[in-house]
Every structure is written in C-alpha cells, then in structure tokens.
C-alpha cells in the first residue's frame, strides 16, 4: 500500500525507507517484505536503533527528512494511505479466537487521521520548506520525545535484551525487557517486541497474540499485555495523531 504511494511520489523526489523493527531480524520480516515487493530500501532493525536515534515509540510511525538530511517532522503516527482498506491485512482464520476479536475491537477505536496525514505529506513533497507541515529545526527537537537518564537506561536494557535474544539466550533477555518496559513506559514497541517473542500457537497470528497463553497463563513473564494495556490507557491514546 505504501509501495503505490512511493511509486507515485518518487518522480517528485520522495523516497520511502521502510524499517522492520524485530529482534528476529530477516526471519521475522521476510514474508511481509517479499509480499510487498518493494522497489525502495526495506531495512531490518534488530536492536530498534530507530528508538535510540529518533525516539520511535510505536508502529507504524514515520519521520520526514529533507534533501539536506534535516528532520522536518520527528516520529509520529503514520497511517496507511486513505484509499487502502484500513483493516488488518492478513488472512484471518474464520473462527477468530475471542482474544483476537477483543483486540480488533480495540484496534478499530484507534484514531485514524489518514486523510489529513497524507494531505500533509503531499503538501510537503510539493512545497518543501514552504509547506506549513515542514517544521523548523528547533520545533523538531522540541517535539521529539522526552528523554532522561532513566529512559537512556531503559534503552540500554532493551538493546541488551535484543542482543541476548539474538544469541538464543531468551530466558536471560526477559529481565532486561522487563526493565526496559518499566523505565520507558511510553514505548509500545519495547513491549510489543517482547510480547511477540512469547508466541501462542504457531499460525500467522502467533506473534500477534501479544499476551498470556490461555492454557498456562501463569507462565506469562510480563506485567502487561496488549489487550490489558490498551484498555488501561484507552485506544484513543494509543497513537499520537499528527498536529500541524
């Protein structure tokens, strides 16, 4: 869906770079990338360097960068182009488990400002620095996520966790994921990544379960899970919609 938009706007000087955030690397991302048949750079980010370098805290989020390499919009929610079906794009089993139905009921409540976002993107591609959506360098820094010593420590724990995971030391990674979640409470990606490494079942939804296995719920190592956390924070607060 982004591929078509990229092909349309590439002649006007826009390039799309997709980055899959996944400790499982190419193994985790390959199926989705091959299905999309990208003509643009499609990268793999096993340690979530986009969190360190830009302050990405959820997916999908996007960062806009101008021809001189200056960020003109820091990470913000990046909805799919409006002409696409905003629903979940994978094949869902006919008898969806109750938990997945409940998750989808929350997901549809997440605000979607696709029309506004893509109008703004097109305005920037056409008008560059004259676009009202191209922010000044000071505004870009000001709008980026807060970061203190605890948040830096949470990121360090997360990177250690992904390193251990890549070494096949899953049990040792878990305490570092737990610390990352505690120290960077506004990061959905840090939580979603860890939850996805506790798959339930082995079908296409295994990593989207994002919570305890109903057969042995006491084995769940984390405080939260996707359904409990989004209900606690409110689906309307799940992603920060673009403000001009």
């Amino acid at each position: 869906m982004w591929q078509a938009l990229r092909d349309e706007l590439h002649p006007q000087g826009l390039e799309l770079v997709t980055v899959g955030l996944d400790a499982l690397g190419a193994d985790g991302c390959r199926g989705f990338i091959e299905a999309a048949e990208p003509t643009h750079p499609a990268l793999i980010d096993q340690h979530h360097v986009l969190a360190n370098a830009f302050g990405v805290v959820n997916i999908p989020q996007a960062i806009w960068i101008d021809e001189q390499g200056m960020i003109v919009r820091p990470p913000e929610a990046a909805p799919a182009p409006p002409k696409d079906d905003p629903g979940i794009s994978m094949d869902l089993p006919p008898e969806l488990p109750e938990r997945m139905q409940a998750m989808m009921a929350e997901a549809v409540k997440i605000p979607n400002n696709s029309q506004d976002y893509h109008a703004a993107l097109r305005d920037w591609v056409a008008n560059g620095a004259d676009s009202q959506f191209a922010l000044s360098p000071d505004e870009v820094v000001e709008r980026s996520r807060p970061r203190d010593a605890n948040i830096s420590k949470g990121h360090a724990h997360f990177e250690m966790a992904t390193a251990l995971e890549m070494d096949g030391r899953h049990d040792e990674a878990i305490p570092h994921f737990q610390q990352a979640h505690k120290l960077v409470p506004d990061s959905w990606t840090f939580r979603r990544q860890a939850w996805s490494l506790e798959p339930v079942g082995d079908g296409p939804l295994a990593r989207f379960w994002q919570g305890p296995n109903p057969e042995n719920p006491d084995d769940w190592p984390y405080e939260g899970d996707w359904l409990s956390d989004i209900r606690a924070s409110g689906a309307e607060n799940y992603s920060e919609t673009m403000k001009p």
Binding site: E15, V17, F32, R147
Partner: protein, 111 residues
C-alpha cells in the same frame, strides 16, 4: 551501542552514536560537550557516557550503552542520524546515501 570494552575507538563511537570526538569535545549537530582528557583515537566510556547522559547496562562481560539524554529530548539536533541497517538479504544501507531526496522513514513490525 553494544561493546565488550569501555575503551572504544572514536570512529566506532561516532558510527554507533553520532557523537564525534573533536578538539573542542564530543559533538553532535551544534552541541559540543567538553572532555577532561585530550581528544584521541580512543574514548573511555566510563568518563564519556555519564557526561552525555548515556546509561550503561552490563551483562556477562558485555555492555549496552544507552542513547544520550543530556538535552532532555530524544533529539539533540534536527540533523538526521545516519542510520546504517541491512536489508532482508543482509546488504548494508546508509541513510545518507539518499541525500538530495526527500525521505520518509517508516517504522513497522511483523507483530
């Protein structure tokens, strides 16, 4: 960044964090933080990391160094970090190779 030693080369530190060691200190964008020791080819992270507000986590002889927090924001500059990441076949890519084009960096995940 991940490292097995707190003594790292200035080049590696720059590549991993975007902080460049110059005569005036450790610099990123317009920001420079003066250092006690003279600029060299090696940096001592036990000295430098706290100055930049970078936390350190140790596990089994390996260190993870968190990102800077001295500016209280995720970004200390609007200059985009030169992200270096592989594609699905392991081929390396640098964001700076697209200089001269507008870029939208889109984060997604298969979960």
């Amino acid at each position: 960044m991940l490292t097995r030693s707190l003594q790292v080369s200035a080049d590696d530190f720059f590549r991993e964090t975007g902080w460049q060691i110059k005569p005036e200190g450790a610099c990123k964008g317009q920001m420079c933080v003066p250092l006690d020791s003279k600029a060299g080819t090696t940096v001592d992270l036990s000295e430098l990391a706290p100055k930049l507000g970078m936390a350190t986590v140790e596990h089994d002889g390996r260190y993870a160094i968190g990102p800077e927090s001295l500016g209280s924001k995720a970004l200390v500059t609007a200059e985009a970090a030169n992200i270096r990441l592989p594609d699905v076949d392991g081929k390396p890519f640098e964001l700076s190779s697209l200089r001269g084009q507008k870029i939208i960096v889109y984060a997604w995940a298969p979960y």
